[in-house]
Amino acid sequence: MCLAVPGKIIEIFASPSAKMGKVDFGGVFREVCLEAVPEALVGQYVIVHAGFALNTLSEEEAQATLDAFRELDTLEAELGIDDGFAK
């Protein structure tokens, strides 16, 4: 239930009752309520649950997490550690 899916905003429009947008989920398009992400722009990614955008996604933070896990590998290669874990 609490699953939320990232998608890219491709259009923003105002409906009578809320700020709405069209979001591309890897080729599936849906109307999404953007009322809680007033700063969101076309082209940005939002995380969407039950037709409602919960937040915009931070590319910087996403990259930092990925880099941290990439570095684990580099560190081991540099130190020449091999604990036999299949790669």
Binding site: M1, C2, R30, C33, A36, Y45, G51, T65, D83
Partner: protein, 366 residues
């Protein structure tokens, strides 16, 4: 960056697991609150890749599972009325009430519709002015903004035929209930990422301090889960009782203030009865009095309900992390997703259904 595939990268997940194996020195019991995380863990087989001394127990974070039997019975009573179009998230349809379920009512000719969003239910209300449209507004903090927004929209559109049956529950009171129980075994928490996307994690510092327990905000992809478990074990091994955010691309300390304002404008704190667990004070939300015309419980008087729970089902203990699904005598025999005895076998977030769908064969034989 599409924010999905990158976090399913097997090499990076393996890097994280290696690191986890290296730093783990003691046995630890960690609870993931959210049922979505339970499913992701089982789906990707992460439970079998962890160091053997780390035990994951599955929390009550499945709104479908904890929606009280009384409310399910009320939903069935309302959905049975000829003037009602009853809208719900798909997961709720097979949840057993005392005598029936929404699927059976639909098969019997009642108008029960599955919607992806509560705002779709508002559209159905607009298109059917001669019908009463009721939405089963279940959910944790993640779903609350969407549920609240549907009421705000209905009000703005002047709809008189839209109501919601509210079963909103909140995570922090459940964490208090679990940690305060004499049977508690949990030593570290993976906090539910999308609940925190809305609410932030500032409320968790006092829980971490009070119960001397680390709490790590965790996402849902395999790399997020390994990241969350890794950070939790680091804190446990170092004896640190802190709150750490391991889902920073989505979550900030304060959460989404605009979403919180939407929730607060429509809902207020109320006591909630959790199925299988019991009453937890101030553990959920109900409609504010100024929105009482959108309250399905007020519009449809359905009070004289006698509930009857299955006598065999152990879902209450499963939800509290006291029993693993496959330790239940009915698991996979008397109780299956096709014929569930409890809601934990139904929901796409229920721990029993996760074990049934994804558990490797040897797990079931054990």
């Amino acid at each position: 960056m599409k924010y999905l595939d990158e976090f399913r990268n097997a090499d990076l997940v393996k890097n994280g697991l290696e690191q986890l194996h290296k730093i783990t020195q003691h046995p630890w019991v960690i609870m993931e609150i959210c049922g979505g995380q339970t499913h992701s863990i089982m789906l990707h087989g992460l439970d079998q890749l962890l160091p053997p001394s780390i035990e994951l127990v599955h929390g009550p974070g499945c709104p479908v599972c904890v929606t009280s039997l009384e409310l399910v019975d009320k939903a069935l009573a309302i959905a049975s009325r000829p003037e009602v179009i009853f809208c719900s998230f798909g997961d709720m349809l097979r949840v057993p009430g005392s005598n029936s379920d929404l699927f059976s009512l639909r098969a019997a000719g009642c108008q029960v519709k599955i919607v992806y969003s509560p705002m779709d239910a508002v559209k159905i209300a607009q298109l059917n002015p001669d019908k009463e449209v009721v939405f089963f507004a279940i959910g944790f903090e993640t779903t609350a903004p969407a549920n609240a927004m549907s009421v705000i929209q209905a009000k703005a559109l002047g709809l008189k035929n839209y109501t919601i049956l509210v079963s909103q529950v909140t995570v922090p009171p459940a964490m208090h209930a679990i940690l305060g129980s004499p049977d508690n075994r949990v030593q570290g928490f993976l906090a539910a990422g999308h609940v925190c996307a809305v609410m932030g994690y500032y409320q968790y510092h006092s829980i971490a301090e009070k119960y001397k327990i680390p709490i790590v905000v965790t996402g849902f992809e395999p790399l997020d889960l390994v990241n969350g478990i890794l950070k939790t074990v680091e804190l446990l091994e170092n004896g640190e009782n802190k709150v750490v955010n391991a889902y920073s691309r989505v979550v900030t300390e304060k959460g989404n203030i605009a979403a919180q304002a939407i929730i607060n404008s429509v809902f207020q704190d109320v006591d909630r009865n959790w199925r299988g667990i019991g009453l937890i004070p101030m553990s959920g939300w109900g409609l504010r009095s100024e929105f009482s015309q959108f309250d399905a419980e007020k519009r449809f008087q359905v009070d004289d309900i006698m509930t009857r729970e299955s006598e065999i089902c152990l879902s209450g203990k499963v939800l509290q992390g006291l029993v693993k699904p496959n330790q239940c005598p009915a698991f996979g025999t008397l109780c299956t997703p096709e014929n569930p005895l409890g809601a934990t076998m139904v929901s796409s977030e229920g721990a029993c259904s996760a074990y049934f769908r994804y558990s490797r064969v040897e797990e079931i034989i054990k």
